[in-house]
């Protein structure tokens, strides 16, 4: 569904991201969707650097930089302060990476979700600790190379299913999004902005540096990951109503995996095993979306 995006940019040029950074494209679309009545909490992640050092900033919205595991809690405090001031309009947004969401920040996020805090929590997922130099996180996929899962002993376990975890909290809205589908992403952001309570958006954001790919294929990978159904685009309302927002033909995963340096050590049987998992996950999602 085509959607008109505002021309106004809330990310200044001169930010410090690597070329092809999916996290910057994600931020641009999110702020186009939200406007400027936003307060953003950024726990430790690539964006702690991208937003610029003292005395500069790369965003046109106020930022509270905060400690790694505090995304859910700090946003709860900001929301409470705005509530006592009578400001219901300003959106409180946590902008966290996968490490700050899947791992070290999961407890505070779970607490905020259980209290159904009126916050929009956005995880931009580049599938490892990229800011510290590509170490494995709970979001790193099976078989991936990282600096702590070397290619002769790559990641042995699957990526944590953060969407299922958030759905289990029965929050009013959770959705996945990809930078290659900006209309879908902005529509979900705007839908989330209209809902009260804890809203969670999981944005797939490629990292050319950490994935060992050329910077110009970021968006292509972000499209392939959806078309292969590795990262389907869907939303979950109240933790129970599933809705797939982008139906896809379901390409085989080979091109996605073979075009990335982080997976180049994988053998045929390992790719087949991953394909099986992707197919099963898709079937599971399909059956949930029919409920």
């Amino acid at each position: 569904m085509p959607i008109e995006l505002p021309a106004k940019e809330s990310v200044y040029p001169g930010h410090l991201a690597c070329p092809g950074c999916g996290a910057v494209i994600a931020m641009r679309f999110v702020l186009k969707g939200l406007g400027e009545k936003v307060i953003m909490a950024i726990p430790a992640c690539c964006w702690s650097i991208i937003a610029g050092p003292f005395p500069f900033t790369a965003l046109k919205v106020p930022i509270l930089h905060t400690a790694f595991e505090t995304g859910g809690a700090v946003a709860s405090g900001i929301r409470a302060a705005l509530d006592v001031k009578g400001d219901e309009e300003t959106q409180v947004v946590t902008w966290a990476g996968d490490g700050g969401t899947f791992d070290i920040g999961l407890q505070a996020l779970s607490g905020a979700a259980e209290r159904n805090e009126n916050i929009l929590y956005i995880c931009y997922d580049n599938e490892a600790y990229m800011n510290t130099g590509v170490q494995s996180s709970g979001a790193t996929p099976l078989g991936s190379w990282t600096t702590t899962t070397p290619s002769n002993m790559p990641k042995q376990t699957r990526k944590k299913d953060i969407m299922q975890i958030m759905a289990a909290h029965r929050i009013p809205y959770a959705a996945t999004a990809s930078i290659a589908y900006p209309e879908d992403l902005v529509r979900k952001i705007q839908k989330a902005a209209g809902i009260k309570g804890t809203r969670f958006i999981h944005i797939y954001a490629p990292c050319p540096t950490g994935w060992k790919v050329p910077s110009e294929i970021s968006v292509r990978l972000a499209r392939l990951v959806v078309q292969t159904r590795i990262f389907p685009l869907y939303e979950v309302e109240d933790g129970i109503r599933y809705n797939i927002t982008e139906d896809t033909v379901g390409y085989l995963i080979d091109e996605y995996y073979k075009s990335q340096g982080r997976f180049k050590h994988l053998k045929r049987e390992q790719l087949d095993q991953i394909q099986d998992q992707v197919d099963q996950q898709w079937q599971r999602l399909k059956s949930l979306s029919k409920l």
């Binding site: 400027e36 009545k37 936003v38 307060i39 909490a41 702690s48 650097i49 937003a51 610029g52 050092p53 003292f54 005395p55 500069f56 900033t57 965003l59 046109k60 919205v61 106020p62 930022i63 509270l64 930089h65 905060t66 400690a67 595991e69 505090t70 859910g72 809690a73 700090v74 946003a75 709860s76 405090g77 900001i78 929301r79 409470a80 302060a81 705005l82 509530d83 006592v84 001031k85 300003t90 407890q107 505070a108 779970s110 607490g111 259980e114 209290r115």
Partner: protein, 386 residues
């Protein structure tokens, strides 16, 4: 109005009188009565505030960092393991220059488990940039919360109001609960210069390179020194309005106008016991002057030199220990005195760890050891079982 209330509830009353707008806390014995009463006051509407029921102490401090960064007066309370879990965020609070006030109930740290009074939990936070005031009785606990907000908001640093587990937190005393109008006059609403505001977007707490970081720290140190300068004036104002005064260091001489052969330094609730001991020993002709240290951060170095420099002997009782070194107040006092040409001999007693009673008998025994021919050691243990 005079009321008989528990030490914990003295904190809750003070937080309500201070018109705190956001409270976030996680339960830990012996802090629970503070936050239970606050939750009730918020639920009943008596206190117009938000209570954020977080899932850990780390998140409690993170939540009030969020609310204070948005410019709203904020409070939390903790103790022992909870305070230890907050440690990272204590640095963050002071670094962000947020005037958050925390009630901190001194409790021992495990292992082994122990829920009783011991100052090592708060003293282990000495380098975080929080001011720390140690209280002697329940009235001082209540008054300190109100004083703390006034000072914190003036110098943009957080303050910990510290008091002993059970000896104060669960003890009922007669307390003069101030009138709201008087508190409003002493403590006007907080009006921060900078806060999170979409109409005036700024980045807070971002990366500060070696070119800038040191000056951020220098300014915090300056604010600490400023606290020492302006506190007496704030305390005088408090005294004029409420009739009570709490100096950062208090001298209580055995005989007014005279210097006794020994000064005894205490902090926290044992000071009350030491006052009684001083009177009883004076009747027997044994004289010591009592020095109560209320402020540990900022450390009142010059006042310590001025008050203790004239004595030949100074005994310090620490209900805490920096393992591998010794009593923490004694170390700081010895450090403050070290630059003086003529300085007293320091007798560093460690007593009452993990809630063991420090009684008149044990204080008398320490006084006699210090007055006698016992040579000073790096640690003098009191009440240690064989």
């Amino acid at each position: 109005m005079k009321k008989v209330i528990e030490g914990s509830h003295a904190v809750s009353h003070a937080v309500a009188l201070a018109k705190v707008k956001v409270i976030s806390a996680y339960p830990i014995t012996p802090q629970t009565h503070i936050v239970e009463m606050l939750a009730e006051l918020v639920a009943s509407g008596e206190l117009d505030a938000r209570y954020i029921r977080v899932e850990s102490e780390h998140s409690a401090m993170a939540a009030v960092i969020g609310s204070a960064s948005a410019g709203v007066r904020s409070f939390t309370a903790s103790s022992s393991h909870g305070l230890a879990l907050m440690h990272e965020m204590l640095h963050w609070t002071a670094g962000a220059r947020l005037p958050i006030v925390m009630a901190e109930v001194n409790r021992a740290l495990g292992a082994p488990w122990n829920i009783w009074a011991d100052q090592t939990d708060s003293l282990a936070q000495r380098d975080t940039g929080w001011l720390q005031f140690y209280c002697e009785d329940v009235q001082e606990v209540l008054d300190s919360i109100i004083l703390a907000y006034r000072l914190a908001e003036q110098i943009s640093l957080p303050v910990m109001v510290v008091f002993d587990a059970f000896f104060l937190s669960h003890t009922y005393e007669q307390v003069d609960v101030p009138e709201q109008a008087q508190v409003d006059s002493f403590l006007p609403p907080w009006q921060p210069a900078d806060f999170l505001d979409p109409l005036n977007p700024r980045a807070f707490n971002q990366m500060a390179s070696p070119e800038f970081y040191m000056e951020f720290r220098y300014k915090i140190q300056q604010a600490m020194e400023q606290a020492l300068e302006i506190y007496p004036q704030i305390d005088a104002e408090f005294n004029a309005m409420f009739g009570r005064s709490y100096p950062l260091v208090e001298l209580c001489p055995a005989i007014a106008g005279e210097t006794a052969p020994l000064a005894l330094v205490t902090s926290g609730s044992m000071t009350g016991t030491a006052r009684v001991t001083q009177r009883e020993l004076r009747a027997q002709g044994i004289l010591f002057d009592l020095i109560k240290v209320r402020s540990f951060r900022p450390f009142p170095t010059q006042q310590i030199r001025d008050l203790l420099g004239n004595y030949s002997k100074v005994a310090v009782i620490d209900r805490n220990i920096s393992l591998g070194s010794g009593g923490i107040f004694a170390n700081e006092i010895a450090g403050a005195l070290s630059s003086m040409e003529q300085r007293p001999t320091v007798y560093p007693f460690v007593a009452g760890l993990g809630g063991r009673d420090v009684t008149q008998t044990s204080i008398t025994e320490m006084i006699q050891r210090a007055l006698g021919s016992t040579p000073p050691e790096d640690i003098l243990w009191s009440g240690l079982k064989a």
